[in-house]
């Protein structure tokens, strides 16, 4: 007996949504505990302010809000969603996943739901999975959500990271399309550099300590900067080639909003033409890990920097080290 195969289709991003937490935190609020200044932070990161979630703004509530906007923009009902993929490192319940609660709150009808752990690279990993699900026939509409509450995991006294990390959520709906709207993914990992960005220690070590404390995120900034700026530029070039286009065909460059200096260095290394509009959401949003790309893209759509039909290079990179990139057509 030959087993039935599902018919295949192309995939595309159908809608983009985001949620920005209510509390704006200027550099002035960060500097005292790291013996720094607004000028120092802006020079090293381009960050002017960031958002921190309040206690009422949870990983689930922020994810749900961003997903609702993405669904509305896509014109897709929650009931039509077959799978919810949530990229996060901020869901503090070991199990079950945040995704199953988010799928329920959204009112999906028993959508498959799971979390993925690829840190700052999580969103583009999710888009890769979603695109292949749609093309392979295992789902028709997939919600990909990046959500983080990094303020919970940031050491406010760490000069290397206290000013970087922030909170927020972003989401896209990936669904069927007549024309290909998502290029093949270029992705990978480099476990040799496992320690460059990580939680300080594992939960068992935390609990064994005399005075248990949050295993904060720690990062070797210079080494990360080098890897992200130069190795990721190579990945970006591979992605453009895999999409069958040239850098001249791009309209938007939406890298993970890690640090403005990384974005600038990548843009220089890629020799992006002047017409390519570059996401700089980090100035007001900080580094929101898995949420940063959809947050930045939503902001560009809202202020008219991004237009429907634009070709956007999205590239996400972070702890693992892990990375993933695609070229997507803006819905």
């Amino acid at each position: 007996m030959r087993l039935r195969e599902t018919p295949t289709t192309s995939s595309a991003v159908l809608g983009v949504g985001s949620y920005r937490p209510s509390r704006v935190v200027p550099n002035a609020e960060i500097v005292e505990r790291i013996d720094s200044s607004d000028e120092w932070i802006q020079q090293r990161s381009g960050i002017v302010e960031r958002r921190f979630a309040t206690d009422d703004e949870t990983v689930v509530s922020m994810a749900v809000a961003s997903a609702r906007q993405a669904l509305e923009e896509a014109g897709v009902d929650a009931a039509q969603v077959d799978c919810v993929v949530v990229a996060t490192v901020s869901h503090f319940l070991q199990t079950p996943s945040a995704a199953s609660m988010i799928a329920f709150e959204l009112g999906t009808e028993r959508a498959a739901a799971f979390d993925i752990s690829a840190a700052c690279a999580g969103f583009c990993h999710g888009v890769a999975l979603a695109s292949d699900m749609v093309r392979g026939g295992s789902a028709r509409h997939v919600l990909v959500i990046g959500v983080e509450k990094l303020s919970d995991q940031t050491d406010p006294t760490d000069r290397g990271s206290a000013f970087i990390f922030a909170d927020g959520a972003g989401a896209v709906v990936v669904g069927p399309s007549e024309e290909p709207g998502i290029s093949p993914v270029v992705w990978g990992s480099d476990g040799e550099q496992y320690d460059l960005i990580r939680s300080r220690e594992d939960w068992r070590d935390v609990l064994a300590a005399d005075e248990p404390r949050m295993p904060h995120l720690v990062m070797q900034g210079n080494a990360v900067f080098r890897w992200a700026s130069y190795e990721m530029a190579k990945v970006a070039r591979e992605t453009i080639a895999a999409a069958g286009i040239t850098v001249e065909d791009l309209d938007l460059f939406v890298p993970h909003q890690a640090n403005m200096r990384i974005t600038d260095a990548m843009a220089r290394a890629l020799k992006l033409p002047e017409h390519v509009r570059i996401a700089r959401d980090i100035a007001h949003q900080g580094n929101t890990s898995a949420a940063s790309i959809p947050l930045a893209l939503r902001a560009m759509l809202d202020d008219g920097t991004a237009r429907s039909g634009d070709l956007a290079l999205i590239i996400a990179f972070g702890a693992g080290l892990a990375y993933a990139a695609q070229v997507v057509r803006v819905p």
Binding site: Q43, N222, R226, S229, R261
Partner: protein, 80 residues
Amino acid sequence: MATTEEIRAGLAELVNEVTGLDADEVQLDKSFTEDLDVDSLSMVEIVVAAEEKFGVTIPDDQVKNLKTVGDAVSYIEGQS
């Protein structure tokens, strides 16, 4: 093989490209951080550009030893 002065001048060009600092300021006795106000991320960019320009390898754990322009020039001379 490039002379010390050629390496210094080449490095000065890179410092100018990354930071906008006048290349003439980049003399052997100048400290990158103290005198030239090059921050750690700019230093990474200069190092990566120098690796390409001079065909050398300057690992991260070596960068912190390159305090002056002269240190960097000597390191590049030793590698090439």
